[in-house]
């Protein structure tokens, strides 16, 4: 068109824009929401973003839980320590568990004393007691994936991570871990 000299115009958009096509950009876009003030304001009653709605009860934050700079939605039960993270509906974070810089998809369960660092936890995944996801001192080359870069780990939907299992950074776990499984 340009070659033909046709009239082509450009419009400069100056709002929030993010092309989410990789695990890292998905993680970044979610973290943008946690900025204070958010890089992308979703909380606008005049411009709602509509979605499917699961109709779950309000989320519960237990005594002893810690919550700092997070986004939490209905049906969650938080007994542990969550920091700079996003919890989707129906997520459980048990006592002593720590979730940091992470996104936890619907229905996932983070068991007692598990630690999640900079990870994307898939729908209905279960992270066993005392397991560590995103452990810098663990070599998980068997889970290395070209899709997981920038220090982000990804646990697939429905995956069960065994108690005490350690998963290193940049891992993508798509099959279950631990004895008797795989």
């Amino acid at each position: 068109m340009l070659g033909n000299g046709e009239n082509m115009c450009a419009y400069a958009f100056d709002g929030y824009w993010k092309d989410v096509g990789t695990v890292q950009s998905l993680w970044e876009a979610n973290m943008d929401i946690l900025q204070e003030p958010p890089a992308f304001e979703l909380n606008d009653s005049d411009w709602k973003i509509y979605s499917r709605n699961p109709v779950k009860p309000p989320h519960y934050i237990a005594k002893g839980a810690k919550i700092n700079n997070c986004c939490v939605t209905e049906g969650c039960n938080v007994y542990g320590d969550i920091k700079h993270s996003i919890l989707f509906e129906g997520v459980t974070v048990e006592k002593g568990a720590v979730v940091e810089d992470s996104i936890v998809f619907p229905g996932a369960v983070i068991k007692e004393n598990a630690v999640i660092k900079k990870a994307v936890i898939g729908e209905e995944a279960v992270i066993g007691k005392g397991a560590i996801i995103g452990d810098e001192n663990t070599d998980s080359s068997q889970y290395a994936s070209p899709y997981c870069t920038g220090g982000i780990s990804l646990i697939g939907g429905g995956i069960i991570i065994a108690d005490g299992e350690k998963i290193g950074i940049n891992s993508m776990v798509a099959s279950e871990t631990g004895k008797g499984e795989n």
């Binding site: 109709v55 309000p58 519960y60 005594k63 939490v72």
Partner: protein, 372 residues
Amino acid sequence: MKDMMGIVMADNSELTLNELTELRSIPALPFGGRYRLIDFILSNMVNSGIINVGIATNINYSSLMDHVGSGAPWDLNRKIYGLFMLPPYVRGGAGGISTGSIDQLYGVLTFLRRSRQQYVVLASGRTVCNMTFDEALKLHIEKDADITVVYRDVKEKNDQLSRSNVYEVDENGRVNGMETSPRYPKTTLQGMGMFIIERIKLIELIEDAYARGSHDFVRDILMTAVNSHKVYGYEYKGFVGIVDSIRSYYETNMKMLESDVRRDIFGSENRIYTKVKDQVPTQYGKTAEVSDSLIADGCIIEGTVENSIIFRGVHIAKGAVIKNSIVMQNSVIEENCDIENVIIDKECTLRQSKRLVGQPNYPVILPKRTLL
């Protein structure tokens, strides 16, 4: 279970919760962070397979109508049957605003006659529980009962019994005595405001009572029926909260902070449905401190929340402390406020550094849209 219909008696003019019910009926009271009381009975009905529900209203029902809408959240927006609001007739047989539940039921006669289900669940809209009526109906049919009342055993006598129907039930489940609002209740079997009865029989009873100039379903129909008809009791053993005063409203809300109660009410396969608002998740700031609280979507929490219930779209600013309180939709608590044992109705604003403290058994109420 398909052969059953439901009628929710959405008013009880004898009960008020002061400022909270000034502009709304009790079933329209916000509850548990995102619900209204009527959600529980409506969900219980549809979870029992009921597809034909009438809501008999009397006064102040606009917030109720706004909330239930077409019945879509309960899948009651149907072509055949569905959800029917039954406001009072201003003229005609019932003579406008009703003076008792018989007048209210008289207005429902057309709806009853037009329906084809064999059985009716007649229920108040202020009982919080998650149950289906399958077992109660089974008992009703097995015993060939005329009326089956649903009750719970509160085990110890309490002041709420003196505002309830209290039953005497024999070993076969037959109700052989009842009291209503007794000063000294004979038993601890408290009615849950739910009755099962055949539709044709209910029509007859209402017509008879109305012809005799009676006004009250409980006093004029049920109490006489205990002697003249086969009235049976079905005992429900799950969690039950009955809201009939500010104190019971506050306490039933606070019960939702107990995990076994929450499991009973919200953990079942049978969900409690409510109007959906597509709000964003709640944002917790870096200064947020939250403990033992239920928090709905769309909130911004930057202060401290303890042992409280926070409804949708509430903003709690830095330095504000909320304890043992209920904060309803879209209220704003500004910096350094100190709130304890308070019920804050919808859309209130508390400017900076306000201090409000109620008693644990006597919470302070801030009416809707208060600016303090």
